[in-house]
Symmetry: C2
Subunit: 436 residues, 2 copies
């Protein structure tokens, strides 16, 4: 950010500009004014990605062990498959096993930015030492963040906006689901138990120094995000966002790249307002939404619920979508299939929204439609977001007859495209056998 | 509709009012002015449903044989499972086998309205008799419609708006994907081949008489619906809608219940406009959308693509969503799993949109959120849109430890709800073992 403010074009800016089909100056200007970030720790080396205004919407896949399911190989497989299917970043949210080791191994396995929520590690170290989470020392919290920075983490969720006033207000004015952000809850419970201010808020300048030293980006966590559509867009959520908007300004002044995390559970008619409010309050800071989930009634299908919310949020201006897997609200995603479904649903949402914000994105749809109009199945499979699945479905259904006439079993010989082509005198599908 | 206009409250209106938690007079008024329909043939007996303004959004599941895959038992199983998982109506789109027999058997198997596209049967009878589709006689088309009416079909898609002028214009101004509506294409090709006007347009008054006699509802098909987001909201689509808006007025004058079919493939930023235009042009006639699909790049996942479009369309005012299965664009859905995925995705979209248009719908989310706040897993499963799947995921992931503390494997002993509950002094989860 310092370099961008000094009008210096870095290699990272040029690379991102090329990837995004934009002029490097656009990226430089976006970084200088804080509307674009390129999260990459100085310790790391991979092709950089940009997140923010005017860029393709990016998606994140969360992986990581839990206290009850600790299988490093599984987590590495999940990280790799997420990257293969199009995750732009990975967050390691491990809470079980040797966290430093797991983080290191996952980082080695992937070629995209890695994010973490360091407060998890602080809490878990206390529990491991038979101390309560609420007895974490502020030093431990800050040390863990420094350790993550030194180890090369590219961006960290820090719940600096969960302040004492909000927690007292929340206790007096309960919501249906008090707090569902795990990191936010660790800090919220700490604040109430110790009757002290959030150490990540009081030590924010120190965190900015750390971020600048290692060039990691700060993702300002939404500890008060609603956990049900009934708590959406309420006092606690908006008060935290107001605190965060000040923290964004302080980060920019210190030349630290920062983004803002958003809900969560939001009914469909409030999604746009949530994005517009963040963009207005935080002067266009990149907005990283968790879903949002537009209803609470579909456990097992929350990847679809999140795709609806993510597409709407993206259309309204959100820049970065955190995936949700079908396993959400039911348990840790323990199979690679869950990760694939989550990544693809999120990518569909991102692309659908990109059609509204970037003129060039429709090229993909155009190529696919041309392949369809020509009944060119090979091209359709190649262009599909998940070629393996498309081929699987096609082959599962095809018959000798449909194979011969190059149609699909939905319409077979009554294929609309072929029937009309004859009346139009089209040459487009002349290579196919048209019997009409 | 005649009775509604005469201010007569029928049993059907009362039943629908109760189901929708509305006053019977609201339903009566909606039917009288054409903004609500209750599709049910006089030959049929089942609990009626209403479609239209202010009502819960309804969803339809298409089933049916194709020329290449003819398995009546499979189709009956698909129809029944669609109904079980919440399809409000079923359309039999069979194009292979003994169509009269298949339709009869499916009708006997279900307790919801049945829809058809009779032009399919006319086309197929010609092909069976070694004649070309474009050589269908107008009498054959009308006879098949009458047969469907006599057999008890509750609503029929009739592509009356595909008129000669549009077909000539389309030939002169080609789109990327000319036509993708199968029924619309049969008629469009017929018009061009015979250089004559659409018999369903020229005989519209006769069709209205038939509809009145059997009290089936007409679904004015969108033969020119876009088949790719690149053709969306174009001349052909809107010209057909203009024709349809006149046909709606004629139907209402004849006391025939009518709804309007809509796209199709529409990019996310054009969905709202498409709904508003239909509602404006057709004076609030119930709008039945096919998806809409907000991108073309995800074969194998088009149920998710359609859920995004359906939720947005519903929020904007669409009343009735046609499901899309993962098999769309790749073949006939040949497995019950495809049908379940399509129905659930569509139901999620409908419910998410209902949250924006009906205040009472959030009760479901409220109950689920209360069950979550109390870590009451049994209640969560009961309330889930698909209890079997929710239980499957939960059990797949749970460990002895998570089972004991009633948390899930996502957070296990680091469950946010439990940690904060202690600081809040909540009694809400006192029955669970909270270690913090």
């Amino acid at each position: 950010m310092s370099e961008a403010k000094q009008h210096k074009l870095t290699e990272e800016m040029k690379f991102v500009a090329k990837e995004e089909n934009l002029e490097p100056e656009v990226i430089m200007k976006g970084i200088a004014n804080g509307r674009i970030i390129i999260p990459r720790n100085i310790k790391r080396d991979f092709n950089p990605i940009g997140i923010g205004e005017g860029l393709r919407i990016k998606i994140n896949a969360n992986i990581g062990t839990s206290a009850d399911v600790i299988d490093l190989d599984l987590e590495i497989r999940k990280a790799k498959i997420a990257e293969k299917y199009g995750a732009d970043t990975i967050m390691d949210l491990s809470t079980g096993g040797d966290l430093d080791h797991i983080r290191k191994k996952i980082m080695e396995a992937i070629g995209v930015p890695l994010g973490t929520v360091p407060i998890y590690q602080a809490a878990i170290e206390n529990v491991t030492n038979n101390k309560a989470i609420v007895d974490m020392s502020p030093d431990l919290m800050l040390n863990v963040i420094e350790k993550n920075a030194k180890d090369g983490v590219d961006f960290m969720t820090l719940h600096c906006g969960v302040i004492k006033n909000i927690m007292i207000h929340l206790k007096e004015h309960p919501r249906l689901m008090s707090m569902v952000s795990r990191g936010g809850t660790f800090l919220g419970a700490w604040i109430l138990h110790n009757d002290k201010e959030n150490p990540l808020f009081t030590n924010y300048d120190y965190l900015l120094d750390l971020a600048k030293e290692y060039d990691f980006s700060i993702s300002l966590g939404d500890g008060l995000r609603p956990g049900t559509v009934l708590d959406s867009t309420d006092w606690a959520q908006l008060q935290e966002l107001l605190i965060i908007s000040d923290l964004v300004k302080r980060a920019r002044k210190a030349n630290v790249q920062v983004m803002v995390e958003g809900p969560g559970h939001v009914p469909i008619h409030e999604v746009q307002a949530n994005v517009k409010i963040e963009k207005s309050l935080c002067d266009g800071a990149p907005f990283y939404v968790l879903g949002p989930l537009v209803t609470d009634i579909a456990p097992g299908y929350d990847h679809i619920v999140a795709a609806i919310g993510g597409a709407l949020a993206g259309m309204a201006g959100a820049d970065y979508l955190c995936y949700v897997t079908p396993s959400e609200h039911l348990g840790l995603p323990t199979e690679e299939k869950d990760v694939i479904e989550g990544v693809i649903a999120s990518k569909i949402a991102a692309h659908a929204a990109d059609l509204a914000r970037r003129k060039t994105e429709i090229d993909w749809d155009k190529k696919m439609s041309e392949a369809r109009a020509q009944l060119n199945w090979d091209a359709q499979f190649q262009l599909a977001i998940d070629p393996e699945k498309a081929i699987k479905y096609y082959n599962r259904n095809k018959t000798n007859q449909t194979d011969k006439i190059k149609a699909c079993t939905m319409c077979g010989k009554y294929c609309a495209l072929k029937i009309l082509a004859k009346e139009f005198g089209d040459k487009i599908i002349e290579k196919t056998q048209c019997n009409f």
